[in-house]
Symmetry: C2
Amino acid sequence: MAASRERIREVVDRYVGLVASGTAAEIVDLYAEGATVEDPVGSDVLKTRESITAFYSALEGLEQRTRLLAVRIAGGEAAFHFEVQTVADGVTYTLAPFDVMTFDDDGRITSMRAYWGDDDMTIG
Amino acid sequence: MAASRERIREVVDRYVGLVASGTAAEIVDLYAEGATVEDPVGSDVLKTRESITAFYSALEGLEQRTRLLAVRIAGGEAAFHFEVQTVADGVTYTLAPFDVMTFDDDGRITSMRAYWGDDDMTIG
């Protein structure tokens, strides 16, 4: 049976929180074995645990804030809009991607695809 | 070559406008031959021109307003958040789905998947 809406919502909330302040290992724990990551959409699809861990490790040293702006759950999938603010040298970089995730029956993420482009970044 | 960001943005704007005030035929004209529609995600995928036309025909008689809230374009695909308000008997029903669309090289929609659930509808 597909994961419940409540379970999927929980995982999305946890994901958004961990992008701000979690370790790569904590984030990767949300993913199922064999999961894929395409961030941004159109880039190479990450298909191994090692490559996904490396991807999130790049965030670990950064000062980041995140907030979930809106989420829609349907058919055991989620689409959500969230904002990531990264502060470096007193400059704030803001990006608000749309992520689409699929889940297994236990609510582990089986795929993540992030929609954003360089043009969507604001600096202030 | 994949459709440009500008072209995709144009089609998304046109789609959102036509959902409010267009005919089913005008909306279906935005779709490529062989396109699919899954609205909401998890429901039966519409795979024929006839079934997609019938789906949008159901909107034709309604008093609707739409507005695009946010759009992200990446890898020749679009994800966007838009609001649909339907007024019936003095009551306003508001739904703000996340739609994901893929496009062919000419910017015709090859697939549309809409993320929303009954819980996302507000009545006022």
